[in-house]
Symmetry: C2
Subunit: 419 residues, 2 copies
């Protein structure tokens, strides 16, 4: 084992010790710590912005795109947003300690299922340094120790942010290892981290599909993730077409580069002759490139062809693939075959069709007469979100504070034994 | 890819299709199917017992131990128990469809968190053929398609059981691939199964630590498991010593070969001089071999020495290691260091000590004045159990029907879009 690997195991060990302590910290103390972390972050803004300039210069030398550099960049305003985020989280309800279920047996044995922190959470992410503060805040609030592993592009910014967060946390009495950043960013050093299943309880990767697949492939620790969002809107034969147009334009155009944006539109063949020309016009007016299947191109001239490959493509851009389907079952079949189990919608006035769609489309969130863009922790009222899961184990859909908890059974007897 | 690997992927593909159908099957239909499965199993008992005799003969040739052969063996009585188990599960509440949370926003958007099946569950297990029927019953009830992968010792019995279960299920209208058995039992054929993360949603390994570690190491699918149960009782300085004796004897002796049996006893040094001789006598009377640390051996003569290795050993036998600790914190520290996060108990009349123990011992179930043997789905009132988890993701502690479910968000709008 080399020095860097030893260091990573030591980080995980410290995190485990911190987690055992954090589990018993009161909400009041955690909230005070979050505010102290925000204060320390704000006090350190000059140093953090200086470190960020360093990262930006390195990024320019490495030839990062303008979009990447923008995501990486920290202004005083962005530091303020991170601070506000921490204060906001300090005001949310603490999920820890909630009694989820309770039973008193006839022999007076009391069994309680109590919400507890998960323990140690590793968050692995790319460029944006705000993820550092956001993840730290959500983990501390939910009583978890966090190991942050950001990308090389943001290493100086992240070190500055974590140093400030630590100062605040320690000043408020939290264990010094509640929030730790991995200093080394070589990809191969992710491997020793991802093998610490005795010390780390959960890995949350946030970033591009490449990073997430790498983490999922190599981790012996449970991973909660989503690879991508290939989201669908299905316009049923009984759809309100004006509503359908509004939902589709919103889902495609309002923010095309995010995971809950629309990628494929399915239209029932009975309404396609009326609806397809209309929606193509509406989308073209918003600079969307439309790609249709053969049936669609018979209805509207001059649109590009969609191929088999389009059905599995997350464009994250102003491009939409369109397929004409024979009926509801064909729409459901398409989504369950090509979709990514993220967010899918039906537009219809037909209650039976809606019911069937909602029950059999196998996605984290299904929408009836609403935009897929609404699949979001903030929109659902969770107060904060650490990501969206398309997995089915533990957390599915937007992950807020509750999804960062586990539970334990607390059993209280009077000398009870097993008979 | 060879023929057997192709077969395994085909099994997973069929399971995924069956799961999509099963998600929409009503409780009534599932319950009827469970009863039909029990009927078919009972009708096939002669053929199953004949197949089992075949397995037993092969097992004898391979030199399986008497205990193994006993676990493998199926009598008419044991087939009847499997049938009764299926009928019992048919009478439990169906968790699917339960609304776990609901919110109506001011703009009348309705967001519901609804319990749904997980999808496809692979159960990987060893000798006992009753696991076949039990797992199939719990998975069908919770709307999941199941892939059963039993051991080579029981292959003929398992094929007989699954053939009968399938007959019953199909007769009652379930998809033919709701319950499938992997025909090949070579260990290396577990690998293609454990890599089908696009088709299989969860793996539950049941068996010895070797099997479970193999599965956890090689799976790209989420795994819920427990490796072992190194369970502790801590006798506090304020313990009722008669109660402590009763709990310890129960936890150690009532069924020593199971995961929630006691393996290490911790005694506060203040009560050790009074309590240790007494408990050693009580345990010796039950044929328990006691192994003490140095401090303990100064108090009681003629007991074996416990070494560092004993603290991490799951005896599954009439052996108990004993350590004298300085205080509550030392007891908690020992458990969080050497334990397996399974089941741990404190015996005390001191409420503050109990509270601290329950909050900071990081185990799936913690007990105050009660035996660790009570960590069990049946004891907790779950009606049925597919195993116990020491993980913190998704399910912790006894896993019943609810733990075999996930959820989805069902969002109902009136043309709602993201602003």
């Amino acid at each position: 084992m080399n020095k860097k690997e030893k260091y990573i195991i030591e980080v995980a060990r410290r995190a485990r010790q911190a987690a055992l302590q954090l589990a018993a910290v009161s909400s009041k103390e955690k909230n005070r710590a979050l505010v102290a972390m925000a204060d320390a972050l704000w006090q350190s803004r000059a140093a953090i912005i200086a470190a960020n300039i360093n990262d930006l210069e390195n990024g320019k030398k490495k030839g990062l795109s303008e979009a990447m550099l923008d995501r990486l960049s920290l202004s005083e305003k962005r530091v303020k947003e991170m601070c506000d985020g921490l204060v906001h989280v300090s005001r949310l309800n603490d999920p820890v300690g909630e009694i989820l279920w309770e039973r008193k047996r006839e022999d007076v044995l009391v069994i309680r299922k109590v919400r507890v922190p998960i323990g140690v959470i590793a968050v692995i992410y790319e460029a944006r340094p705000n993820v550092t503060a956001d993840s730290a805040g959500l983990c501390v609030k939910s009583g978890n120790a966090v190991i942050l592993r950001g990308g090389s592009e943001a290493i100086n910014s992240n070190m500055g942010v974590v140093e400030a967060l630590n100062q605040g946390a320690v000043k408020a009495g939290l264990p010094a290892d509640a929030v730790q950043l991995i200093r080394y960013t070589e990809r191969e050093l992710m491997l020793p981290l991802l093998r610490q299943n005795e010390l780390i309880d959960l890995v949350i990767p946030r970033g591009g599909e490449g990073l997430i697949r790498y983490v999922a492939e190599h981790s012996t620790i449970p991973v909660i993730k989503h690879y991508k969002g290939i989201c669908h809107v299905y316009v049923d034969k009984d759809a309100d077409l004006a509503m359908a147009e509004s939902i589709i334009v919103n889902a495609k155009v309002q923010r095309p580069a995010v995971c809950n944006a629309l990628e494929t539109l399915l239209i029932h063949k009975a309404v396609a002759p009326r609806f397809l020309p209309r929606i193509v016009d509406a989308l073209k007016a918003k600079d969307v490139e439309v790609r249709c299947d053969a049936a669609g191109r018979r209805l509207v001239k001059g649109v590009k062809a969609a191929t088999e490959r389009d059905w599995s493509t997350e464009y994250l851009d102003l491009i939409l693939s369109v397929r004409i389907v024979d009926d509801l079952d064909a729409a459901i079949g398409h989504i369950n075959t090509y979709g990514s189990r993220h967010s899918d919608a039906i537009v219809t006035r037909n209650a039976a069709a809606a019911k069937k769609f909602m029950a059999t489309v196998d996605s984290s969130a299904v929408f009836h007469n609403a935009s897929t863009r609404l699949n979001d922790g903030g929109q659902f009222g969770f107060g904060a979100e650490i990501g969206i899961s398309t997995d089915k184990i533990h957390a599915r859909g937007p992950m807020g504070l509750e999804e960062l908890t586990s539970y334990k059974y607390v059993v209280i007897g009077k000398g009870h034994i097993r008979k």
